[in-house]
Amino acid sequence: MAELAKRPRRPRSKSSLLQKRDRKGYLFILPWVAGFLIFYVRSIVMTLQFSFSELTMDAAAGGYQLRFVGPENFLYAFRVHASFKQILTTSVLDMVVDVPLIIFFSLFIAMLLNKKFPGKGIVRAIFFLPVILNSGAITAAMDLSATMMNGGVTSQVTEMAAAGATTSSVAFSMDYLIDMFVSLGIPAKLLDYMVAAVDRINDIILASGVQIVIFIAALQSIPSSLYEVARIEGATGYETFWKVTFPMVMPHIITNIVYTIVDSYTESDVVDLAYQTAFGEFNYGLSSVFSLVSTIVTCLILVLVCGYIQKRTFYYT
């Protein structure tokens, strides 16, 4: 016994067992991080590098040359460039309008689709269709069939038929309704938002395919015992939604907000502008500035929104 007590204690204590386990986590992350560092972090660093320099293609040497120009590209983007600031503002505003609508719409549809009814799989697939049909080849083919249909004449009629919706016929009554609401004393800001929202219904439906699927997966992972308890305790549907469903899908509301913001950013006009500047005007430096600045702005929004919601999120542990 005495000998045992004299033996120097091993330096590991109980807390280091946990630490050891946590260190094993690195092994799990390693493959992902390796690829991430190689393919993504480096391309971000290179974009940063490009934004501070002037890039010239050197066909003879088979490469490119960078000349450090300092913040010149940034100054040009903000002071000289005709449309960058305006496009950035509209893109960000569009995002702010779209995100809450997409989230509510997709949660709503996901809850409906989560019920058991015949043909459930097909209906879910229908709501995922826009994501599938959004691929390059299909868009190209649809354009081709549109040109075929109007026999080479680019008439508006076909465009409308392709879009599946026309707004001109309802324009008059819309104006009338808006006037009526204004005279009723509804705040103009709210009204603007509503009009913008109604204007985008089609876009919103088309943009919520992925979010619906994420929400369905989230709803599926809510243990049914919780609903059982709620039913036994006599909760109404309304109460069940706010006390069970909503808290349980809360983490995935954040997931979807992040996805929606990323998605609407990568499809926004700013990215188009950056692409045009890079591959239309071959001004890679300026293009990098555009993508950097807009990325930072979007990230700020993301951090603010998620920080706000994260505090109110309930994690079931």
């Binding site: 094993k24 986590g25 799990f28 992350i29 493959p31 992902w32 991080v33 390796a34 690829g35 991430f36 993504y40 480096r42 391309s43 971000i44 290179m46 974009t47 549809i109 409906l112 689709l113 799989g121 697939a125 229908i126 709501f127 826009p130 049909l133 080849a137 299909i138 649809m142 081709l144 069939s145 075929m148 249909m149 109007n150 026999g151 038929a161 599946g164 439906i205 699927v213 994420i214 369905i216 997966a217 989230a218 599926q220 992972s221 243990p223 049914s224 015992s225 349980m248 995935h252 992040v258 950013y265 990568t266 950056a274 692409y275 890079a278 990098s288 993508s291 990230c299 079931y316 542990t317």
Partner: protein, 297 residues
């Protein structure tokens, strides 16, 4: 017979009561009507694609266009097969390429991202928050604007013009990690704790406890990744015709313009049909995973 009938009616009776507890019949009808309107809008392009694929040439050029086909024919598909046989790389090669690229990219991404998400969701270690912020940041850099750096990296690594140029970047895409982490965070810690007490090592816990419990999440991720990889033409990194995926070959047929209108309609149908089928298979497996079914608290 009679006994089962009564059981059935009784069950139906209970179901009806359950529904009424939650929402009125009128409300339900209204909601489903709304959903139906939205659904019709979404399904319209697909209806057009299916019908176009079966329209004879004169109907394809008809103006004003009709959505529904009047004299359905499979001519477009036989046209497409003739075109396929004429291509100087055997068409089966394109299909093989697509299977390798799509399958490799999808499976690799699901496994690698889930593996990384597990410690991020459940362990504490220094640098966790930083890593996670980097993930979100990386999602913001869209493919279109980082094309040049991406190309440079791929050529530094000398994997240009190989399958790896398409497959490897897909493995480390940020979205999958993010999605899996969010779902794994919801698993109760005690589930893993009990497995640990029973002597399971971390890999075993990950593979046989965590993954089956987040099945709906990784099936969802597989759908997204399949869609991403399926739409990839690989034209930026693959130069050899033998390596190019099906999507590229089909796009070439569509690019043939007005002369190949019929085959192009058939192509569109095939491009749309495959991911839809994949979606249906995956979604039918998204069932309640019963996270806490093994728990007594």
């Amino acid at each position: 017979m009679a006994k089962t009938m009564t059981a059935k009616t009784r069950m139906r009776f209970f179901k009806r009561r359950e529904k009424q507890l939650n929402r009125s019949v009128a409300g339900n009808t209204l909601l489903f009507a709304l959903m139906a309107v939205c659904g019709v809008f979404m399904v319209l392009p697909l209806v057009m694609i299916v019908n176009n694929a079966m329209k004879p040439l004169d109907e394809l050029y008809q103006f004003p266009p009709k959505i529904f086909v009047r004299n359905p024919t499979l001519e477009n598909f036989s046209d497409l097969f003739t075109l396929m046989n004429d291509s100087w790389v055997p068409f089966s090669r394109y299909i093989l390429n697509t299977i390798i690229i799509t399958g490799g990219g999808m499976l690799g991404h699901v496994i690698v991202a889930s593996m990384a998400a597990y410690p991020l969701a459940k362990n504490k270690f220094p640098g966790k928050q930083l890593l996670f912020s980097m993930v979100v940041l990386s999602m913001m850099f869209s493919w279109t604007v980082t094309q040049i750096p991406q190309y440079l990296i791929i050529s530094y690594l000398h994997i240009n013009n190989t399958y790896a140029a398409l497959i490897l970047p897909a493995w480390s895409f940020g979205m999958g990690l993010y999605l899996m982490k969010q779902f794994m965070e919801q698993l109760p810690d005690s589930l893993m704790e009990s497995a640990r007490l029973d002597g399971a090592n971390e890999w075993k816990i990950f593979w046989s406890i965590v993954m089956p419990n987040v099945k709906s999440a990784w099936l969802t991720l597989a759908i997204f990744q399949f869609q991403q990889m399926w739409g990839n033409t690989g034209s930026l990194f693959l130069r050899d015709e033998q390596l190019k995926p099906l999507q590229y070959a089909l796009q070439q047929i569509t690019a043939g313009g007005v002369a190949r209108a019929g085959a192009a309609a058939a192509v569109t149908f095939i491009i749309a049909a495959v991911p839809i089928t994949f979606f249906l298979i995956c979604q039918s497996n998204v069932l309640e995973t019963m996270t806490t079914s093994g728990m007594k608290e």
